[in-house]
């Protein structure tokens, strides 16, 4: 994981160098502002795109009680709780900081899981909040996003502009951005998979029951196969946030933001053995 972060950092250094060399640096503050805005509104965006609503203690007392005590164990302020009306069983955590965090579950999840399993999933999400994963992933993907925007700009204006002012520099910036975007895409996904393992482990230690999260992951995985395809497609852009990503047949392991369920369950079983024999 440290290697992944190091590679990403090195890549970004080269990228900034290329931007500097090609005099395209002027775009950076502008794009920085864009990404910053995304960071600050990410929670509202995520909730909005899922059609999720924040719910009160009175509406969902059980859910609130579970979140409250799990936060207590994790030493976190109690986050806001939201519920999305969807048959797809899933959950995610949003918000840029620990005090602004929201934990969201779908009605499908509430129906699919029993109490212990639900706590396992909630604890996994709280572990993401505790590990500041929204912030880490935003920082890690900042320049990747910039690179993506430069590439897109290149497609729009690149041709005409380079003829007018013979801007070789701009072409270099686009080429560098393309390479940076592709490579960082894989590195960021590797990082994301690592953070998922870390959240599984942290979550299991919060509940004290690795088996509950393992059986929840299996239950969600199994249930996904029975959910109508349209429901799944609707939400696939939210994949990186989810506890278990929606399935896709052609996307390979390198492209995935999450490790496979089998691997996650295997690690949780190891943790369970560790706890039994300590």
């Amino acid at each position: 994981m440290v290697l992944t972060m190091f590679l990403l950092f090195a890549l970004y250094l080269v990228f900034v160098g290329a931007l500097w060399w090609s005099n395209s640096f002027v775009y950076l503050p502008l794009m920085g502002a864009f990404v910053l805005a995304q960071f600050f509104f990410s929670d509202r965006l995520a909730l909005y795109s899922m059609g999720a609503k924040k719910v009160t203690e009175e509406e969902y007392p059980e859910l609130h009680a579970a979140v409250s005590r799990l936060s207590q164990q994790a030493d976190l302020p109690k986050p806001a709780v939201a519920v999305a009306d969807s048959r797809v069983p899933n959950a995610f955590a949003a918000g840029r900081s620990q005090k602004k965090a929201t934990v969201c579950v779908t009605t499908g999840l509430l129906r699919t899981l029993d109490r212990d399993e639900l706590e396992g999933v909630l604890a996994h999400e709280l572990a993401h909040v505790k590990n500041r994963d929204v912030m880490v992933m935003t920082i890690a993907s900042f320049l990747s996003t910039v690179a993506f925007m430069v590439v897109r700009m290149g497609f729009w204006f690149g041709g005409g502009r380079s003829r007018r002012d013979g801007g070789g520099g701009f072409l270099v910036a686009i080429a560098a951005s393309l390479v940076v975007w592709i490579v960082s895409f894989f590195l960021i996904r590797a990082l994301s998979r690592y953070r998922e393992f870390a959240a599984d482990r942290g979550g299991a230690l919060i509940t004290g029951r690795p088996s509950a999260l393992a059986s929840a992951l299996l239950a969600i995985d199994g249930r996904m196969d029975n959910v109508p395809k349209e429901d799944l497609r609707e939400q696939s852009e939210m994949n990186a946030f989810f506890i278990v990503p929606l399935k896709s047949d052609f996307i390979g392991k390198l492209f995935s933001t999450h490790p496979s369920t089998e691997k996650r369950v295997e690690r949780l079983r190891e943790l369970e053995r560790e706890m039994e024999t300590r």
């Binding site: 972060m5 009175e58 005590r69 207590q72 164990q73 109490r115 590990n131 230690l205 706890m275």
Partner: protein, 203 residues
Amino acid sequence: MGLLDTIRAVLGTNAEADATRDADPEDLFGMSTAYLTMEADLGFESMGRAALCFSGVDSTDFAETVGDVETILRAGEEETGTTFDVREDSHGWEWVVLRDDDPEDLVTSVHFAADEFRERGYGSRLLAAVFGFERADGGDRAYWIYSFRRGAYYPFAPGRDRERNQRLEFKLESVLDGELDVEDDESYWYPMWPDSDGGHPWE
């Protein structure tokens, strides 16, 4: 964020570190004098009940530890007359509920039980100690909750329909602050709602 916290954030081990951190029982004993202040200054009497909330671990060793805690409390029962039972609430969290008219004995028993968990390496599983109070005229109820994770007390006054009686909570805080180590960040004042109006957190 300190340096250590930053490193943990980068490595993604914050959750693990904090979920397994040992309990901080240092300021638990403040309650033995707070009982007097509660009665003298605010008219709140002890309910004669206190409870220790912990979250279990799926292991044989932990089950044995709970058994040992019961043994210790049973020995204490003969000495001080503090009765107890171990129960699970409807959310799956476990409680040791203690009964004694003498508040001092309640604090001591909570301390004994908490100590045993810590000695067996399960201090991180202790969540809270809850001390119950009520007004003599049968009106308000309030609880002082000691968070073993934060090492501090906070007040909890449940009203009707899951509304907290915030005025009362702030009054309790302002009168007892200093005598008790009160959590100053209110975002850590976790509610511990009873299942029904008029119940207790441990029910």
